[in-house]
């Protein structure tokens, strides 16, 4: 276990060190102490290492992650795991707005609540939120899965493309072109896998699925009011 104390190591040095780890590094376990809400902690990683951030982080923690597992023991500020490509990011506390935004792949697990715009423009990432998500979550989400064990706020899935949204609790309102859809066996299989991988205590049958009505893909004058 390598330990880096942010009270004595600069953010740039910390990130450079983590980013320099090769695919076959022997230093696979890292602990980061005293993050104290710092921005851009453990961003741009590209090696199969496990990084534990002991505390809470500011903006853009674990952004652009590839391969690495980043575990934050506190809460995360805006834009956690933004544009993640692969790997796993786990937040023990809450995540602020636009968690997992534009993510292409990997798994983001938020064990508390996520606030507004969770999974905005997601492009293949899987996001599992144990608590609630705020308004405009999965706005323009293109692919991937957003799983919410709690409730969803206003305008869930507005202008949605092909991402799948699974919500166990209530949905305050659905956004334009987002509708409830039937839960088929393949969706139960996806949920079973994601719940197991994220360690969530929930049954797939308890969820409802939401997806795109596919009426906003191309302009149609009959739908002008929905744009």
């Amino acid at each position: 276990m390598q330990t880096i104390d942010m009270a004595t190591t600069s953010l740039r040095d910390l990130n450079a060190l983590l980013q320099a780890q090769a695919a076959k590094t022997n230093q696979t376990a890292w602990a980061i102490e005293n993050p104290r809400g710092a921005h851009a902690v453990a961003v741009g990683l590209d090696a199969p290492i496990e990084v534990t951030v002991k505390g809470s982080t500011g903006y853009y923690c674990a952004g652009m992650n590839k391969q690495a597992t980043v575990h934050v023991t506190g809460s995360a500020g805006p834009g956690v795991a933004e544009n993640m490509m692969s790997g796993t990011v786990i937040i023990e506390g809450d995540a602020s707005q636009y968690a997992g935004a534009t993510g292409h792949g990997g798994l983001l697990v938020i064990k508390g609540n996520a606030s507004s715009r969770c999974g905005i423009s997601m492009k293949g990432i899987n996001i599992v939120v144990f608590g609630n998500v705020g308004h405009m979550s999965a706005f323009m989400a293109q692919s991937g899965n957003l799983v919410v064990l709690g409730d969803a706020g206003d305008a869930l899935g507005d202008s949605l493309y092909e991402a799948r949204l699974f919500v166990r609790g209530s949905v305050k309102s659905l956004g334009s072109d987002c509708i409830e859809k039937e839960m088929r066996p393949e969706h139960i299989a996806i949920l079973t896998d994601l719940l197991a991988r994220s360690g969530a205590d929930a049954k797939p049958e308890e969820f409802k699925r939401y997806g795109s009505a596919r009426k906003l893909y191309n302009f149609h004058v009959d739908h002008a009011g929905a744009y």
Binding site: G55, S56, S75, Q97, S116, G134
Partner: protein, 295 residues
């Protein structure tokens, strides 16, 4: 951007630390807005009125001011000079006469009240806090702001907090889009903003609602109906502290609560040095939801 901090103490024993805690919180928010900074601090309530004034030429303007004002009011006046600001202690009922006298001398009135003092200037939070000795100030609660100007010029009067009523102050992250219309509405009611700043309009709005008999929660709730634009507001009153965010809530906010205090920050970084923060309840205030504490 702008950075906001706020601290409402629940544990009386922390009172002497308030200025120091708020200063540390505000300095961590410096890179959210380096244009100007300010702090409103609610210290010990006193008999009579406190009036915080400002001058760009304090040596000249404040020399003999207490004696001259005492003569006009026919009552004793005390003055505490802190850099470009001075806090005057006046007898009850002399506010209007004092305002007229001070304004005629070209002095700027930052705020009045029984416990609130306001200090704000152009510059970085660390410099502004040092100029006024904020670290040495005690009190029950306070709010601070570091500004990245958008709606009006970078001046002392354009800095936050804005005070538009006794012991009332407001700080803002965001920008209002109906402030000109609201300026006319509020001016007609007698709440006339002194600057072109949008935030002062919001402060006047809160003051007008409180004057109409609303409580702090109701006044904050009213902002959601009557003010248009982006905002996270933190408001202080003599015995209260409140927070509200607009329904879109793109301006960041995080709160922390322990048995000893309630704290607000634009970012978690602001809390890093607070005592017991690792065990605090941390949460993000919900959009279009009013939070307030009163003692």
């Amino acid at each position: 951007m702008c950075g906001i901090v706020g601290l409402f103490l629940k544990n009386e024993a922390l009172r002497p630390e308030l200025g120091s805690m708020l200063t540390d919180m505000l300095i961590t928010m410096t890179d959210r807005g380096p244009d100007s900074a300010g702090i409103a601090i609610y210290g010990d309530a006193q008999d009579g009125l406190k009036m915080t004034i400002q001058s760009d030429t304090p040596k000249v303007s404040f020399a003999g001011l207490d004696a001259a004002l005492a003569e006009v009011l026919g009552a004793p006046v005390a003055i505490k000079v802190l850099d470009t600001h001075a806090v005057l202690s006046l007898p009850e009922g002399t506010e209007a006469a004092a305002r007229a006298f001070l304004t005629a001398r070209g002095l700027r009135i930052m705020g009045t009240g029984h416990s609130m003092e306001i200090f704000k200037e152009v510059g970085l939070p660390k410099d502004v806090a040092a100029r006024f000795g904020i670290r040495d100030m005690g009190g029950s609660h306070g709010i601070g702001h570091t500004r990245m100007a958008t709606e009006s010029a970078v001046t002392t009067l354009g800095a936050h907090p804005f005070s538009t009523g006794d012991d009332q102050c407001l700080v803002h992250n965001g920008s209002l889009s109906n402030h000109n219309q609201m300026r006319r509405v509020l001016s007609a009611k007698g709440f006339v903003p002194q600057t072109q700043n949008d935030t002062e309009v919001a402060a006047c709005y809160i003051s007008s609602r409180l004057a109409e008999g609303a409580n702090l929660g109701q006044a904050l709730d009213g902002t959601l109906q009557d003010l248009d634009g982006f905002f996270t507001f933190v408001v202080g009153t003599r015995n209260g502290f409140g927070v509200v965010r607009d329904p879109v809530a793109c301006k960041p906010a995080v709160m922390a609560e322990t048995a000893d205090y309630v704290a607000f920050g634009s970012e978690y970084r602001a809390f890093a040095k607070l005592p017991g923060i690792d065990d605090a309840r941390i949460w993000e205030p919900e959009p279009a939801t009013v939070y307030f504490w009163e003692r």
